[in-house]
């Protein structure tokens, strides 16, 4: 590949910004300067599709009605562990208005799958209305051979417990999810250990320590609870299938559908224009997409299958819980000498409950060992959720760090300054401490009175994930229209808007001038919205494509302007010679003079300029101030200060929106929500929105965000995402603040009033 050497900004806005030289592909543009010198990138550009959202015009999958469309409904298992002897669908099939019934079978053996959790999809019916489909589902008779089951993680670890799987199982990770190690041993319901990447030697490490602290931290299962449920409409026509999907990954749906029905990928088109929330759970075809496919194939009509709220809670994903043991040694001087970690977690019938990444990688410590186990239970499968594994891991690790700091008698921030190699977190601790006014933090447990105030902090890391399978096409038309196309989706994060900003910046136009068409697999492939990889992957592709389209245009107009192509620049709506600014024409005039009706350029993301693949340094530091009512046990979060980095920020307002969301979900995780399964029946008892406790408007604190610019010179936009980083540290920061307020550590979330009172009574 031909390359060139360019100078790029490097460093953190809160610290110092210098320059670094990089060797980059010849067909990519020169580096942008820092955001301050740009016109649209790094600014508060309004969300381009907000108009459709505030007027109700935005059509989500759940809103779409096609002519002749049938509604599908799912029959779900009433039992948590059973073999199915027989299924009788005859009454359902006879019901007027029913077009087809589909019974789920294992692909190879053509047998009914074993039922492994209450709520597992078994069959689906398609009918003229939702009510008829529901009635049809009620008419399906299933003869179950029920067996003992276990839904509690600790009971499931008992060698005597009923087993979920008879033989070792392998599953692939969901996109953006924690890596799933293959080939691990299965003993009863316990799969593992995953031993990560150990280093050093623990015995000598602990021997060197002045203080060793050992603790167990526990986190609960939480369910994603996006407002729009999982679901798809499958329209199966002889010449191809069109799927409208509530998805966070268009190509994932296409690929899985094509594989399942043995179709070439070119015959499957997946569309998602607006999507009502995913947070990690909406990758792939899913149970409802697959069933809609079968029913559409059978009936020759479009079939819409959306999960009910109950199904959404039970079978469509959750964040696995964790029992997280940590043993850490520290010298009085503040050096970490050894970290030993062991964890168990259940993703129900699924895998992916590891929590080890953060303890392994975040702090400088020569000796590290981990053993992480997945525990199978008779419960719905887990799915990725914003920073899978890291959220659970940080809840333990950051409380441990605070405890160590206290034991060696130094301030939690000063301790982290000693053991944390991250420059960006160092800068974050500084701005965050200023904005929270950390100096007013009282000694732990010293606030007098019934309502006690506390201040705490926690920090986090996430990978710079990007995909080179990310392509964008830019078209410029003779009449002045500009279009960007990509298969990438906007799940509410603002992808449409940032693509317009990036392309507008390159052309010297306004973001509103750019028509962004995404969420359609007719356009070039791009990754799913998982792992905070979309911004990092697709914005460089779009900029590279815009740059190539611009060069083509320059080639066409250079002679009109009597200049060299290499002297031409585009800015403020003009194309001009950088040597002689009187030689200029408007962008529109330039387009009009094209000898062709349209220019198209298609480019992809290339690998990181510095050859890095994954770098563990999207840092964040969050501070929390709260009040604990020691009579009722209620916690009120008063204020959150969040210092974040995501490379070069592209849209400040949208980033703030997403950070607010990450923090609010973190608050919810820390003190409110909890999926509760009944041990006696295996059913979820709080599957309705009124019984599944989440924060509402009255519970929302003031949130103050410090967004740092963090230039790393890694791609043509040098931008990364914020979806995962914003959600990791909040729960740990809350736990540390609760400790500061009441002087008792609560190592298990959600920190409910009952747990606060219990802790106070024990103290």
């Amino acid at each position: 590949m031909d390359t060139k050497k360019i100078k790029m900004p490097y460093g953190i806005s809160e610290d110092a910004i210098t320059e670094v030289e990089r060797e980059v592909p010849l067909n990519e543009p020169d580096a942008w300067p820092v955001n301050e010198k740009l016109k649209h990138v790094g600014k508060r550009v309004k969300r381009l599709d907000a108009y459709a959202k505030v007027t109700g015009e935005a059509r989500y999958t759940s809103d779409i009605q096609l002519s002749g469309m049938l509604i599908g409904k799912m029959l779900i298992s009433a039992h948590p562990n059973a073999k199915i002897r027989s299924i009788d669908t005859s009454a359902a099939e006879k019901l007027p208005g029913v077009y087809a019934v589909h019974v789920i079978k294992n692909e190879e053996e053509e047998a009914y799958p074993v039922v492994r959790y209450a709520g597992q999809p078994i069959a689906a019916a398609a009918a003229v209305t939702e009510a008829v489909a529901e009635e049809a589902v009620r008419l399906i008779k299933v003869d179950y051979d029920t067996r003992p089951f276990v839904v509690d993680i600790e009971k499931a670890m008992d060698p005597e417990a009923p087993v979920v799987y008879e033989a070792p199982v392998e599953q692939k990770a969901s996109e953006g999810g924690e890596e799933i190690e293959s080939g691990l041993k299965l003993t009863g319901n316990v799969r593992g250990p995953n031993e990560g990447r150990p280093r050093g030697e623990l015995t000598s490490g602990f021997a060197e320590a002045d203080i060793v602290v050992e603790n167990t931290y526990r986190t609960q299962v939480q369910t994603h609870n996006a407002l729009e449920s999982h679901g798809m409409i499958v329209d199966w026509k002889p010449d191809g299938v069109t799927i409208y999907a509530s998805t966070q990954g268009t190509q994932g749906v296409r690929n899985e559908f094509a594989d399942l029905f043995d179709l070439p990928r070119s015959k499957v088109r997946v569309l998602v224009e607006f999507m009502g929330g995913g947070f990690g759970a909406k990758h792939g075809l899913g149970t409802h997409g697959a069933a809609a496919g079968h029913l559409a194939k059978k009936t020759g009509r479009p079939v819409k299958m959306m999960a009910t709220r109950k199904e959404e809670q039970i079978s469509q994903g959750n964040r696995p819980n964790s029992i997280h043991h940590l043993k850490v040694g520290v010298k009085k001087s503040g050096e970490l000498t050894a970290i030993e970690q062991k964890s168990y977690g259940t993703a129900g019938v699924g895998l992916g409950a590891g929590v080890g990444g953060v303890a392994q990688s975040m702090y400088t410590c020569p000796n590290f060992k981990t053993a992480q186990y997945d525990v199978f239970t008779h419960a719905g499968p887990g799915a990725a959720w914003r920073a899978p594994g890291a959220v659970q891991g940080i809840f333990g690790l950051e409380q441990m760090m605070d405890e160590l700091a206290e034991k060696i008698g130094i301030d939690p921030l000063a301790f982290r300054d000693k053991v944390d190699p991250s420059r960006v977190r160092k800068a974050g601790r500084k701005v965050g401490a200023e904005r929270m006014d950390w100096s007013r933090r009282k000694p732990t447990g010293s606030d007098p009175g019934i309502i006690k105030k506390g201040i705490g902090m926690a920090q986090s890391s996430w990978w710079r994930i990007h995909s080179i399978n990310a392509t964008a096409e830019v078209k410029i038309f003779k009449d002045g229209a500009i279009e960007v196309r990509s298969g990438v989706q906007d799940i509410g994060t603002g992808t449409k808007t940032i693509l317009a900003q990036v392309v507008a910046e390159e052309f010297g136009l306004e973001p509103e001038d750019i028509m962004v068409r995404i969420g359609d697999t007719l356009f070039p492939d791009a990754p799913g919205s998982g792992g905070s990889q979309v911004t990092a992957s697709i914005t460089p592709a779009a900029r590279n494509a815009a740059y190539q389209a611009k060069l083509k245009l320059f080639n066409m107009v250079a002679s009109n302007l009597e200049t060299d192509v290499s002297d031409l620049k585009a800015a403020d709506g003009y194309i001009f010679s950088s040597k002689d600014e009187t030689k200029k024409m408007t962008f529109k005039e330039a387009l009009k003079s094209m000898p062709v009706s349209q220019i198209t350029a298609t480019e992809s993301r290339t690998k990181e300029y510095d050859g890095d693949y994954l770098h563990w340094d999207l840092g964040a530091v969050q501070f929390v101030e709260l009040s604990v009512d020691t009579e009722t046990g209620f916690i009120k979060i008063d204020k959150v200060v969040a210092a974040h980095s995501c490379g070069r920020p592209i849209n400040i307002t949208q980033l703030e929106s997403q950070i607010n969301g990450g923090i609010i979900q973190g608050i919810s995780y820390a003190i409110y929500e909890d999926r509760i399964l009944d041990r006696n029946t295996g059913h979820m008892v709080n599957h309705t929105l009124d019984t599944y406790k989440v924060p509402y408007a009255m519970d929302i604190p003031e949130i103050d965000i410090a967004l740092m610019e963090d230039y790393n010179a890694k791609s043509s936009t040098d931008a990364y995402g914020i979806g995962e980083p914003s959600n990791i540290a909040t729960a740990a920061a809350i736990a540390n603040a609760v400790y500061n307020a009441i002087g008792v550590r609560i190592k298990e979330i959600p920190i409910t009033p009952a747990k606060v009172l219990e802790a106070l009574n024990k103290a």
């Binding site: 959202k53 007027t55 407002l227 929330g277 509410g492 607010n660 979900q665 009124d690 408007a697 929302i700």
Partner: protein, 206 residues
């Protein structure tokens, strides 16, 4: 809130309770009970209809619309399925999220908890009817300016709640805004921007 007082006088009859349970903001159902039971008689109240579909007329966003609905249809189903006004969202279908908030005679109700047949000749306003002659309501503009929408699925409900607040209270405090949106569930966490947008819109209207 003004409505609370206005409505509470009506008391709680069983039928009134059922109907009034459609009112927005879960948790205060009892306070706001009885909206649809007050004064006006429903056109269909005395005769027996159903269970099959029946034809009704409904005043939606200033226009009279003809609908064919089953008597068990909720207002949310009728709006979404019959006249394709899909801006009104259905999430919980049990009065816990306010995504389905519309105004019935200028009072915000949960359309999932309101029978379509009980609307009678009252005026329904949905998110699609908030802009006047193509000009956005100040709240809608403020939601755009302050990025008070992410995935956008809760947004119509949020807007119907906050726009109603500004009608009743042109000088809201932050607490008033929180109070007005206390039943609106948003998983994306747009609340801080919703508060900002509403306060900004109030200032602009003045």
């Amino acid at each position: 809130m003004k409505d609370d007082k206005k409505i509470i006088k009506k008391g709680v009859s069983r039928r009134g309770f059922l109907k009034g349970a459609g009112l927005t903001t879960a948790g205060t159902i009892v306070l706001q009970t009885g909206v649809l039971a007050k004064t006006k008689e429903n056109s269909v109240q005395s005769k027996t209809v159903g269970p099959g579909p029946v034809n009704v007329e409904m005043n939606v966003n200033g226009k009279t619309r003809s609908l064919t609905i089953e008597p068990r249809s909720t207002l949310a189903q009728a709006l979404r399925d019959e006249i394709q006004l899909t801006g009104t969202k259905m999430v919980c279908d049990r009065g816990a999220c306010s995504a389905c908030t519309v105004w019935v005679d200028d009072i915000p109700v949960n359309a999932c908890m309101t029978f379509a047949m009980d609307v009678g000749d009252r005026k329904v306003v949905t998110i699609e009817g908030l802009a006047e002659n193509g000009k956005l309501h100040p709240i809608q503009e403020a939601f755009i300016d302050h990025d008070a929408t992410q995935c956008g699925y809760c947004t119509p409900g949020m807007i119907m709640s906050t726009a109603h607040l500004l009608k009743e209270n042109p000088n809201p405090t932050l607490e008033d805004v929180k109070h007005a949106t206390r039943g609106n569930y948003c998983r994306c966490g747009t609340y801080p921007h919703v508060f900002k947008a509403t306060l900004a819109a109030a200032k602009k209207i003045k």
